[in-house]
Amino acid sequence: MANDGGRIAVLIGQGGGQASPAAFELLNAGRQLARGGRQILCACVLGQGIAGVCDEISFYADEVYAIDNALLAEFQADIYASALEEVCRTISPVALLMEHSYENYELAPKVGYRTGSEVITDCTAIEKDEVSGALLCTKPIYGGNAVAVFELKSTPHIVTIRAKVYDALERGGSRGRVVRLECDLSPSLARVRSMEVVPGQNVSLDKAEVIVSAGRGIKTQEGIDELRRLTGALERFFDKVEVGASRPVVDAGLLSRSHQVGQTGEKVSPQLYVAVAISGAAQHVSGIVGSKKIIAINKDGEAPIFDIADYGVVGSFEEVLPSFIEQLEGLP
């Protein structure tokens, strides 16, 4: 294999014996990058009991580097950073791609610091600049009000990539080489100790076909109940309908954080997004622009949400929703 351009490394998120869905998107981003530079696509798998994941991932990458260690059973940023630093030292990748997840939010800057590299977080596209060799990283800034392309010159180019901006890579016919790396990890590396994991309510916004979201204009539990009636009506037509929320609704305690859509919540791309009493501030909009169809219901006809909606109803949700629900229920 021609490998004059070095290696592109992808960190594979995994759990429960499976790679995360985003891992296959990253592998696609990595494959595109590697193809342009005739580089080797390497998957890095960190964890405990990861042989199965490595075996499966080997159909997608040219090489799989695995560190299987009991100290990697649960995510601990300092220990993961040491392991990933070790991988970087061993294979000297040109680029290291990671999912923009809660864990990597913490891991990426640590690895960046320890490898002397700059990190660009939450990228929506990456591309190699053939002239300078820099990695060009597209990233929404100012809550999605602008888009910047950053030049990443330090190597490895470390980026975290937003979920669902790349399609998943298709499984290849041949298998890459799996290499087990040893890494001298010690519990004392962890500067922070976990005491308890408190489970939350799991709202699968990312898997929903339809999301009905509450905005700042909804101030009471009765308003949320009305939204739930709408989700009930939509379940006649769609398999998975969830309730979402903009940040003010979550901060007001009307819905739990797992419902939050937007810049600091979940970025979603359902078949149908119904924005109820949401004004359309950029931080919210940046999380929903991938939706196939958007319906906006807002009493302010000038609200920016209408600029990004396919269907708009100007009116208060208290008055519009009951007849909307009734008509939906009555459709043949």
Binding site: A77, Y102, Y105, E106, P109, K110, G112, Y113, T121, D122, D129, L136, K139, I141, Y142, G143, G144, N145, A146, V147, A148, V149, E151, L152, R191, V192, R193, S194, M195, V198, P199, G200, N202, F237, F238, D251, R257, T264, A281, A282, V285, S286, I294, P304, F306, D307, I308, A309, D310, Y311, G312, V313, S316, E319, V320, P322, S323, F324, I325, E326
Partner: protein, 265 residues
């Protein structure tokens, strides 16, 4: 336990709640220029201030606000002094303009080292302008202290700092020895409003300014952000079909009928 010294890093940004039209994109100078919206303390830094002041309410001690800027301190930042901050330290130098997260963390770490003794450093989880979310974590790396990301509750105990740290679903309770750094998320709660008396008292509180030279930082070693281009978000606008009707109720049922006609439902 002994009264803690808490350092909170704060930054001024254009109000992120402003409408999209308030963010003018100057592609030629690669800048976003806010128009007609006020500057604010970065909302996540406000959450960090609130977390700090709550600890002070319970444990006493001292809260120091630390700001890095390329221009003199503004009235907006000084408002921190009226909500419980005791002292403000401004790291100000023209060399601090448009520098990377890494360089920003180096400057702030130099400021923290110069302050000397502290128990806790708090930052917002990210700034709502560049949205990198790295500076706090990098400061902890540079200072060699524990970092806890995305806090929703911050408690100081005899045996260390105990934090509820957000997970994608639920949260994790973690503990670390002090001094430590914690990045704070909006779940902590909004920053309190100042009282009239506090606004008056704030005028007497000290504001110290340190330049790059004071911090022993060579301006030439700071790196500026490498931006190839800066543009408006593309193709976001859609053609919105406004559903008409003589009453809101009629609009509601017309919406359902339209969706059926377009085979959306």
């Amino acid at each position: 336990m002994k009264a803690p010294v808490i350092i909170v890093c704060i930054k001024e940004i254009p109000d992120p709640e402003g409408p999209s039209s308030a963010f003018e994109i100057h592609s030629d100078t690669k800048q976003v220029v806010p128009v007609g919206i006020p500057p604010v303390i970065n909302p996540f830094d406000q959450n960090a201030l609130e977390a700090a002041v709550r600890l002070k309410d319970r444990l006493g001690g001292r809260v120091i606000a630390l700001n890095m800027a390329d221009k003199p301190i503004t009235p907006v930042l000084k408002r921190a002094l009226s909500v419980g901050v005791d002292e403000m330290i401004v790291l100000q130098d023209s060399a601090f303009k448009a520098i990377t997260s890494q360089s920003t963390a180096e400057v702030l770490s130099a400021g923290i080292k110069k302050i000397g003794s502290y128990d806790l450093v708090l930052t917002g989880r990210q700034s709502a302008d560049w949205d990198f979310g790295q500076v706090g974590l990098l400061i902890a790396e540079i200072l060699g202290i524990p970092a806890i990301n995305l806090a929703q509750v911050v408690e100081l105990r005899e045996d260390g700092i105990v934090v509820e740290k957000l997970r994608r679903v639920g949260h994790e309770v973690v503990i670390a020895p002090v001094p430590a750094l914690v990045t704070v998320s909006s779940e902590v709660g909004d920053l309190r409003l100042p009282t009239l008396k506090a606004i008056q008292d704030a005028r007497k509180k000290p504001v110290t300014v340190w330049s790059a030279a004071h911090l022993g930082i060579e301006a030439g070693k700071l790196r500026t952000r490498g931006i190839r281009s800066l543009t408006s978000p593309s193709s976001r606008a859609r053609t919105c079909l406004r559903i008409e009707g003589s009453t809101p109720q009629e609009k509601g049922s017309n919406l359902a009928l339209q969706l059926r006609q377009d085979k959306v439902v």
